[in-house]
């Protein structure tokens, strides 16, 4: 079986599938260990209760659902909250070492919208620790890895996915995999936007491939802005400033030195949920109280140089090196940056199975857990919990099916499409087209949205789709990034269209989706998710009711049908559960 993507979710899935006896190949666009997971800084959310014994899975579950504005898949949120502690401990058996409490247990730090101190971390390089541990495990298990291979097409036999096709980036050779099951773990699509914390890889390939093959894309309009990205100089604009800065005590001020989060969310202050903090910064800038380069100041000087260098070493280094700012002496300048796609392929909570037989998804590429807004730290636990589940379920599935037959025609069609930019007559430059798309999405479907700007953006996306067919790239197939970008762009355009269409239809403000023309929540829209699906090559939308919570979980939210994050009533304290082993 085939795992597409070697970030946290893909590697965890591969490990589980291999352990279950499946023969696994992992395919990744970059070198092994470079996936975007390394960029995760703050930590991994798991209700271990090491620092706050009151913490347990029910509280984590409630925080996740409330953060996601109740349009999450409750079952995913439940599994996630129940299983993340075990996944954290398991990661340590692969060789990871989290920061520790004085008595030798895993240390936890506070983070936005988490009720208790919950994020297990390694300084501010938690993602690196996680990816290295998983990578080592992959090597230990002898799992086959195909580095620098991009897959562009899922191969189907009837309804079923039976393999995938793409090219090797090194020499441009085409490559087809025949496999009983395919797991999509290709992450998100931050590259759709101009100001992003994502690497070049975040072009939504896997989800777009799934979409092309007929899978459903859930909640595409939900794109998370991280409140704190770097602002200046221009070359680093968008690079992430970890939430751990605020977790460790950093606070935000506007140009006048006023700590505006005290008013926006007096209870959680800087550690409110990401959508709220991002909007607060945006509003300060709009009101003319922004800093020199259009952001807010983030200050950690009061922590003292020693603590900053110990707890936030890569932030210290990043600002010193790239912005000439010594954060032990000066405040950082920050502004919202595109960070995460809550949307993705619609999957079954327990198994990660998409709506197509043989196709699974996990991690950022899958949707449902985070609803309208993801809490910091929930993505890393998402990768492990649902990576493992998708790996196990697909390994079980592939035991009972045979290898499918590859339809040569599908390969021939895709080959033609891939070769077009090299042999076609077009004149469009793939990089400049990509930049146009990023600008259009930034302006039209960014943090603050309204009908008019969204419709303009949709027109631009559709126009770019036409022009993308006329891309021309010089050179050969050998390691040609221009050629790679040409194909990536098609994926990006598919996803962009889904985002914009859903964003137009969600005529309300909810979580990350902020409509200036519909500032309130609409209870009716709070009961549905939008789904984009492929209708003969066109992006169509439909709605699906949000799955209904069973009474024993619904009771946790009894006091707040639609809880405003800032003024939620105290959560009912459930009894401390027994440790869950699954």
């Amino acid at each position: 079986m085939l795992v597409v993507g070697a970030g946290g979710a893909g590697m965890r899935a591969a490990i589980e599938a291999a352990a279950a006896g499946a023969r696994v190949a992992v395919v990744c666009k970059s070198l092994l260990g470079k996936a975007h997971t390394v960029m995760a800084e703050g930590g991994i959310a798991a209700a271990l209760g090491n620092l706050d014994p009151e913490d347990n899975w029910q509280v984590h579950f409630q925080d996740t659902m409330r953060g996601g504005q109740m349009i999450n898949n409750w079952r995913m949120a439940e599994l996630h909250a129940r299983e993340s502690p075990d996944r954290v401990y398991e990661l340590e058996t692969y060789g990871a070492i989290f920061d520790r409490t004085p008595d030798g247990r895993v240390m936890q730090r506070p983070f936005g919208a988490h009720t208790y101190r919950r994020l297990c971390h390694v300084g501010d390089r938690t993602g690196l620790e996680m990816i290295r541990s998983l990578q080592d495990r992959i090597v230990q298990l002898g799992i086959e890895v195909h580095m620098e291979v991009t897959l562009t097409k899922l191969l189907k036999a009837g309804d079923r996915v039976v393999g995938a096709f793409g090219y090797n980036r090194i020499d441009g050779a085409f490559i087809a995999f025949r496999s009983k099951a395919v797991i999509i773990a290709t992450g998100g699509w931050g590259r759709l936007y101009k100001v992003t914390s994502n690497s070049w890889e975040g072009t939504g390939d896997g989800v777009a491939m799934g979409f092309d093959a007929g899978a459903e894309v859930l909640d595409p309009e939900m794109v998370q802005f991280h409140p704190t990205g770097m602002v200046w100089p221009p070359g680093v604009r968008g690079i992430l400033v970890t939430e751990a800065v605020r977790g460790e005590g950093g606070y935000l001020t506007n140009r006048e030195g006023k700590r505006f989060m005290l008013e926006v969310d007096p209870k959680k202050k800087e550690l409110s949920s990401r959508d709220i903090v991002a909007r607060a910064i945006y509003k300060e800038v709009q009101a003319g109280r922004g800093t020199e380069h259009g952001g807010a100041h983030l200050d950690v000087r009061h922590l003292g140089a020693e603590k900053i260098k110990k707890k936030l070493p890569s932030m210290y280094e990043q600002f010193l090196r790239l912005a000439d700012v010594d954060i032990t002496r000066e405040p950082m300048e920050v502004a919202p940056t595109i960070h995460y796609a809550m949307g993705g392929l619609r999957v079954e909570a327990e198994t990660g199975a998409t709506t197509i037989p043989g196709l699974y998804a996990a991690g950022e590429a899958a949707a449902g857990l985070h609803g309208a807004n993801r809490l910091g730290g929930n993505s890393l636990s998402d990768l492990l919990v649902f990576g493992r589940r998708a790996g196990a379920a697909s390994a079980a599935y592939q035991r009972d099916v045979g290898l499918g037959t590859i339809d040569e025609r599908q390969i021939a069609d895709e080959t033609k499409l891939l070769l077009l930019p090299l042999i076609g007559e077009g004149k469009e430059n793939p990089y400049l087209l990509q930049q146009e798309l990023q600008q259009a999405m930034q302006d039209g479907a960014g943090l603050a949205r309204e009908e008019k700007s969204l419709k303009t953006c949709l027109d631009q996306v559709l126009e770019l789709r036409q022009r993308a067919a006329r891309i021309h790239v010089p050179g050969t197939r050998k390691y040609n990034p221009g050629w790679h970008t040409a194909r990536d762009l098609r994926f990006m355009l598919t996803i962009a269209e889904a985002i914009v269409r859903a964003a137009i239809e969600r005529r309300e403000s909810r979580g990350a989706h902020w409509r200036l023309d519909y500032l309130e929540k609409d209870p009716a829209l709070g009961r549905v998710n939008f789904i984009a699906y492929n209708d003969g090559g066109r992006v169509k939308l439909k709605t699906r009711p949000v799955p209904e919570m069973p009474p024993e979980l619904a009771v946790l939210f009894a006091d707040a049908a639609s809880p405003p994050p800032a003024s939620q009533p105290p959560a009912p304290k459930p009894p401390k559960p027994q440790p869950v082993r699954t």
């Binding site: 470079k34 030798g104 690497s199 221009p234 680093v236 990034p481 050629w483």
Partner: protein, 350 residues
């Protein structure tokens, strides 16, 4: 990109493939705070769509955009163009690795080396969740900061000038082994590997690697030297020497830190030598020792069968390299090979 600065940046970027190449001159508009990778991206978008370079995070966290900038191994995303003033900036690929195209090199050798290092192994009865005290984990964090940019491998003169990648794993993997060896709960020994295949004796402490490390890991001071000490204690302990004398499989182990000895033992990129202990993937995952390495890269092995307490070495059998798992290093009296071997014998005694 804005062009508010009067004088453009001049870059000389290496262009070429396996059959050679040369530098090409580009002028890129200057921008405040610009790094070399920004300039390369500008060139890609405007002048050379097919210019090959690796990059991912653009924030010095992934270690993909390694290159040689004015002759010095560095990350392109972390190198500001303004530090060069009016000078031309020469950007070329890492020279210790075979060129693929332009700035992209074939670093796959590193991944192969990594496979030879036995991973983290806790004692089987270690209770989970693990308890580890902060003072015991402190030193490991430094090694685990490594982002695998391979700049240390690029600058290492053993790997670079002598082009002898069969004699030494290189600084990156000394750091990796250090991380494993100093892990408070790791129960595996790697000193045999270190003084054998990993070739720690090849390092003569010039500290070039730690000078180029973008994560400021003190590779030589904090990883290689402590490992050298650990290896020396365990390998050159007088009692161990006596034991080696009576060991039927002892060979050149005691002299392996001499470069001549290492090089005569090395047998090309696959890194198997006579007397290495390996485990077969097939046939019940039996242990075997390498009898010889055939010219086509296959191994002639003798497979261990236990007949009660008596060992039988069946063979020779010819196997492919892909049929064996980790090479545990030479079967001497201190290495991992011998540890595994003893373990197997003990298991059969019960």
């Amino acid at each position: 990109m804005s062009t508010n600065s009067p004088s453009p940046i001049v870059l000389q970027v290496f262009r070429g493939e396996t059959d050679g190449g040369r530098e090409q001159r580009f002028e890129v508009p200057s921008m405040e705070g610009m790094v070399v990778l920004d300039a390369v991206h500008y060139i890609q978008a405007h002048f050379a769509n097919d210019l090959a370079c690796r990059w991912n995070c653009k924030a010095a966290k992934c270690g993909s955009c390694s290159a040689e900038i004015n002759g010095r191994p560095r990350l392109m995303c972390k190198t500001r163009v303004d530090e060069f003033g009016d000078q031309e900036i020469h950007v070329g690929p890492m020279r210790a690795f075979p060129l693929i195209k332009d700035l992209v090199t074939d670093v796959s050798w590193n991944y192969e080396v990594n496979k030879e290092i036995p991973g983290f192994t806790a004692a089987p009865d270690e209770p989970v969740p693990y308890r580890m005290l902060p003072e015991d984990t402190e030193r490991v964090y430094e090694y685990r900061k490594c982002i695998e940019c391979f700049l240390c491998q690029d600058v290492c003169h053993v790997l670079r000038n002598h082009d002898d990648k069969s004699a030494y794993y290189g600084p990156r993997y000394m750091v990796r082994i250090a991380a494993l060896e100093m892990h408070p709960l790791d129960a595996q020994k790697r000193t045999g590997l270190l003084h054998g295949k990993a070739g720690i004796g090849m390092c003569n402490i010039t500290k070039c690697c730690q000078e180029v490390c973008p994560e400021h890991i003190k590779i030589t001071d904090n990883a290689i030297i402590p490992l050298k000490e650990r290896t020396a204690t365990e390998v050159y302990d007088p009692l161990a020497r006596i034991a080696r004398k009576i060991n039927p499989f002892s060979g050149a182990a005691a002299t392996t830190d001499l470069p001549e000895a290492r090089q005569s033992q090395s047998v090309g990129p696959q890194r198997f030598s006579v007397k290495d202990v390996v485990r077969l993937k097939t046939r019940g995952r039996r242990m075997a020792r390498v009898g010889s390495v055939l010219p086509d890269g296959k191994l002639e092995v003798w497979v261990l069968h236990m007949n009660g307490k008596v060992q039988h070495w069946d063979g020779p059998k010819v196997v492919r390299v892909s049929d064996v798992t980790n090479n545990y290093g030479p079967l001497d009296d201190v290495g991992i090979g011998s540890k595994l071997f003893e373990q197997t014998l003990t298991e059969h005694k019960h």
